[in-house]
Every structure is written in C-alpha cells, then in structure tokens.
C-alpha cells in the first residue's frame, strides 16, 4: 500500500513538473518577438552555446566517421561491396549518427553548462535581482539561451555529418584504398536530399528544442543551492540524453515508417 502511494506521489510530482515545464516553454516562445529586437543578446549566446561546442563536435564527428569507414569496410568487403562504403557512411551519419550523437554531445557540453549557469544565477539571487529591477529574467536571460540552442543544434549536426563523411573518406579511401570515384558517386546516387538529409535536419531541430528546453528548465527550476544546482546539471544530461534517444525512435518511425 505504501509503495503504491509512493508511486502515485511520484507520478503527481512528475506531472506537476511537466506542467510547469510546458508553461515555461510557452513563456519562452512568447519571448521570441522581443528577442528579435535585441539580437546582440542572441549572438552572445550562440557563441557560448554553439561556437564553444564546435571543437568537441568536429573531433567526435571525424572519429565517428573514420570508425564507420573502417568497420563498414571490413563488413562490406566480405560481400565484395566495398564501393558502397560511401553510401553506408553517409546514410548512417546523415540519418542517425549526425543528429543523435551531436545532440548527445550538445547535451553534455552546452546543456550542462546552461543548467549550471542558470541555476547559479538563481542561487546567487541574480534572477530575483533582475525581477526586482523590473527586468523579466525569462526574456532577458533564458529566452536568448533557449533560442541560441535551437539555432545551433542543426548547424552542429550538419557540421558533424559533413566532418564524419570526410572521416569516412579518410579511412575508406585514404587508408583502405576504396576507389574515390565510387565512394562519392555511389553516395550521391543513393542518398536522397529530402528523404535522408532533410529528415536528418528536422531531427536535429527537434533535438535542439528538446535538449535546450530541458537544460534551461532544469536550471530555472533548480533548488537554489550548490547541491541543487549540481543535481540539476546531472539531471539535464541524463534526461536530455534519454529524451534524444527516445525521440529519435519516434521520429525515425514517423519518417521512414510510412514509406
């Protein structure tokens, strides 16, 4: 009986949080028009959210691409199909790994930083102080960070995929001697712009929204102590990563399922 009550309690608490998070998202979206009048705020945040995540995304993309090249080659060569390496690398990256891995890295790098920053601002009464100065922290602090994340994510995912394809090229053509012409031409023949690339972009936009939303909400909703902020930061990484993977399944099923 006690366990049942505990379960019910937890469910209610989770539901409440979800409700708060939804209202919060709505308030953020309402902040968009005033943000467009103050672009420097957005640019500043695109820097700290997007540009600072660039190095990890490029390095990870290169290695993931190279590993795909190596692994793909050893599998394909058994079927005499190593010319299809380009297709395999490009499709895996563009459809799945680009958006998903970039979003996971983004959650770890930028998401946790966002939560910690906002949580600390809350703990040190900076948000409260702004409110008392008649400045809405949602519009001044949170909205620029949110939209910077939403904007940066597709760009980061595209960079990840592009660098990954190059990594696959380096491994496949450079190291293992796959024909360069076959690598590119097979890729171009089989990767569809709308079916594959645009769907990848749509995925990365969805991931950008979800990851940044979780990150800024966890920061804003954090218990304003150092312990609360560190817990919120951990929660951001865990929830955002799980949300990305779950959402990826749903989106993949929707996009490629009906064809």
């Amino acid at each position: 009986m006690n366990a049942l009550q505990q379960l019910g309690h937890n469910a209610l608490v989770a539901l409440q949080r979800l409700g708060r998070a939804s209202l919060f998202l709505w308030a953020l979206l309402m902040g968009l028009p005033s943000l467009l009048l103050r672009l420097p705020l957005l640019i500043q945040q695109v820097f700290s959210v997007g540009v600072l995540s660039l190095v990890i995304v490029v390095v990870a993309g290169l290695f993931v691409g190279m590993v795909l090249g190596l692994q793909g080659y050893y599998t394909l060569v058994d079927f005499g199909a190593e010319e299809s390496l380009g297709v395999m690398v490009a499709l895996s990256l563009v459809r799945e790994l680009g958006p998903v891995v970039a979003a996971l890295l983004f959650a770890g790098r930028a998401g946790s930083a966002l939560t910690a920053e906002i949580g600390l601002m809350k703990a040190t009464e900076q948000l409260s102080g702004m409110e008392m100065m008649a400045v809405d922290p949602l519009k001044r602090v949170i909205a620029p960070r949110f939209f910077a994340g939403v904007l940066s994510m597709p760009l980061l995912a595209a960079i990840f995929s592009a660098v990954g394809v190059m990594g696959g090229y380096i491994a496949g053509v450079g190291l293992l001697g796959v024909d360069a012409g076959a690598f590119w031409s097979q890729m171009q023949a089989r990767v569809d712009f709308y079916e594959d690339i645009m769907n990848g972009v749509i995925k990365s936009i969805a991931f950008g929204i979800v990851v940044t939303w979780i990150a800024v909400f966890e920061g804003y909703d954090a218990v304003p102590t150092s312990e609360g902020v560190s817990r919120a930061t951990t929660r951001t990484v865990v929830y955002a990563s799980l949300a990305v993977l779950g959402l990826d399944f749903v989106l993949t099923a929707l996009m490629f399922g009906e064809v």
Partner: protein, 157 residues
C-alpha cells in the same frame, strides 16, 4: 567592444560553417545536384511492369546518366505504367526508335532505365513517347518460372 567584435565574428564563422556543411551534404553527398537541373526535355514510355523504379531513378545510355525519371503514372486504359523522364537537353540526338528497358544495377541494386539507341534519322523531342520498351525483370517471377519449368521437366520425364 573588441571582445564583442571577436564574438560576433566567431558566431558568423560558426553559422557560415554550419550552412557550408549543409550545402556540402546537399551537393556532394546527396543526389540534389542531379535533380537541380530539372530543365530538359520530357519523353515518356509505357511499361507493363516497372518493378522498383522510383521517381528520380536514373536514365542512362551505355552507362552514362543522361536524365532522371520525373513522374510515374498508371494508364487505366492500357493498364500499363507510364514513366515520364526528363532528359538533359545536351543529349538531343537520341533517335525516335530508341528502346527503353528497366535494368537493375547489380543483383539487388537500384533499378534504372537504360536506353538503347536505334537507327532513325529523326530525334526524340519534348513530349515524344518511346514505344519500344522492356519491363523490369522481377526476381520472383524469374525464380517462379525457373522452378515451374524445372517442375514440368521433371513431370514430363
């Protein structure tokens, strides 16, 4: 202010890099460049069975791609598939008695339309129809026929 400028420059570079990456994916990785040149002249052909042919499948002569499938319809009077193809305008000297066949690249690969030029003096132009066609080889049918013929061989012995 120096700092602001640096940040703005780096953000600009980041956005450019992101868009360049998308552009590279579109142009170098996918088939977008192939159907960027949509203009060309259209010819159509009727097939009994087009198998796995899709819009944007390749049209080639002697292995050289000269166009793309732009539309696939079904003619309810002849009960045949009507495939409309867009051919690159620089290949404007295809004889009117050119035949079109649906081939498969490799055993399990994509299907495409292959042209076999004939000997006519007149050339195909926009809106023409290719009458000599050969349908797709459907693997199941071939295997089915093979088994059937083997079975009937066995029965007649």
């Amino acid at each position: 202010m120096q700092n602001t400028r640096l940040i703005e420059t780096m953000v600009g570079a980041f956005v450019v890099a992101g868009i360049a990456a998308l552009f590279m994916l579109a142009m170098k990785v996918s088939n977008l460049n192939a159907f960027a040149n949509v203009d060309g002249y259209e010819v159509s052909a009727q097939f009994e069975n087009i198998g796995g042919l899709k819009v944007l499948s390749a049209v080639s002569v002697g292995g050289v791609r000269i166009g793309r499938v732009s539309a696939i319809d079904f003619d309810q009077e002849d009960y045949e598939a009507v495939v409309t193809m867009t051919i690159d305008p620089k290949y404007d000297r295809l004889p009117t008695d050119t035949s079109a066949s649906i081939f498969t690249s490799g055993l399990l690969g994509e299907q495409y339309i292959g042209f076999e030029p004939g000997g006519e003096e007149l050339f195909l132009k926009d809106g023409d129809q290719i009458t000599l066609t050969q349908s797709a080889m459907v693997l199941e049918q071939i295997i089915g026929q093979f088994i059937f013929s083997k079975a009937s061989e066995g029965a007649s012995e």
